[in-house]
Symmetry: C2
Subunit: 298 residues, 2 copies
Amino acid sequence: METINVMYVVDKDRHLLGFVTIRQLLLADEEDLIGDIMDDGLISASTMDDQEETARKFKKYDFLTMPVVDKENRLVGIVTIDDAVDVLVEETTEDIERMAAISPSYKPYLNTGIMETVKSRIPWLLLLMVSATFTGQIISSFEDQLAAVTVLNAYIPMLMDTGGNSGSQASVTVIRGIALGEIEFSDILRVQGKELLSSLLCGITLAAVNFGKILLVDHLLLRGFDSLNEALTVALVVSITIAVVVVIAKFVGCTLPLLAKKVGLDPAVMASPFITTIVDAVSLLVYFGIAMLILPGI
Amino acid sequence: METINVMYVVDKDRHLLGFVTIRQLLLADEEDLIGDIMDDGLISASTMDDQEETARKFKKYDFLTMPVVDKENRLVGIVTIDDAVDVLVEETTEDIERMAAISPSYKPYLNTGIMETVKSRIPWLLLLMVSATFTGQIISSFEDQLAAVTVLNAYIPMLMDTGGNSGSQASVTVIRGIALGEIEFSDILRVQGKELLSSLLCGITLAAVNFGKILLVDHLLLRGFDSLNEALTVALVVSITIAVVVVIAKFVGCTLPLLAKKVGLDPAVMASPFITTIVDAVSLLVYFGIAMLILPGI
């Protein structure tokens, strides 16, 4: 680290009063006292502050150094921006790992042992695997409906993936916004309003494209249906499901990270894998529900 | 930004020669020349350098400022660490957005208009929706097998989700490693070796847990099978599939970001949504392939 050109000024009990720069010292008159030339508009970090929060202050105020004080405002040290940069990068890596269902390792990838890598990944995979069996239960319980209209099966992966992707777009955006200090829990209604509106637009667009695709590609090109009538009703079921699923996925996706933040959990855990597991189950329930309303004979 | 305590030294044509600190100036003898006291071990950025790469140099060398030179090594400006911090944060946000299938917006979430949000998300959702129909085609083409052993249906979401989660763990880890400069394309064999080994361990563990779960929960508790024999063979099919899918998913997940980097694409695009789409299709092919080998009568 290059040398620091700020000096902090304390009283005889080490209470922090202000700072002077080398430039101020060099330009000062000989009879000036430090108390005369020092600057007292000082932002400091407390020993009890979260390191990520302190790192964000550096970014916000463009500081090079920040004094650290104890509970009685006594100077106990300084933090420099190079430490803040390391913290920012490390905390972001931690967020990214959590978002991908990995326990943070705090080590460069190639220096992490195989067992360590396995241990950071397996618990999440197990948890998500077991959760995904609920989705399987839903499919099992609609076995008769699926047997009656087997073509419904073919749209399940697309519905699950589209729901998962929509949800993770919303959750990741909100998680990043929280990490950057741009979104607070108190913004929840604004966030939800924004996501509802944009998910409606996304959902309707996807539904329309999907409706056309089922009729043109699946029916006319691939001859996947017995009649135009069947193609139309299935297209209707799938398209309505997509629109509903996108709206629900984005709503869940934007809400869970904010709730997690509120109750003191890491919002980053509420990202793609977790959201996907929830949205998968919801998608299938919506799908079968709409199918039973619209399709004759199931 | 606080004042900078480094001065860059140039010759009469502005070629960069070295630097002096205020401290060196204050401590110098009166007869010293700048050339005598300056430090010439200087790391500079070029006007043609990528801003992310330059920001990483700040992190690596703990600099506060870095001189910028043109192609002839003439000093044309300086970059300060507060700009580097902004670049690091912005580039990371861009990576995170790309990983969640969102086009980067470079604006705080709450300041982004609804239409802008929709535009940054819809193209990816459409692309992934259309890709997911291939997975649907695979299911359609194995309709007869699914009709023969309908219980196979129930494990499809779990296999797809586990594959997707495994793949995204590997891809996100590698993407972050590339972004932090920890992993290069030349490390590809080491990365693949590491992922193969750890995916084998993950795959075998998940397969074992799943085998036990199918027998204990799905068969004994939920009575989802007609006979112990059916439960055993289906458990075998599903468990072998899981192990194979986890290995393939992690291999694809760690390889694609490195290939993307090699051909000049943003590795961050090769994250969860893209990997999931590929892995879904692969999972189903493996699943039906193994089912046809092991299960009688399909």
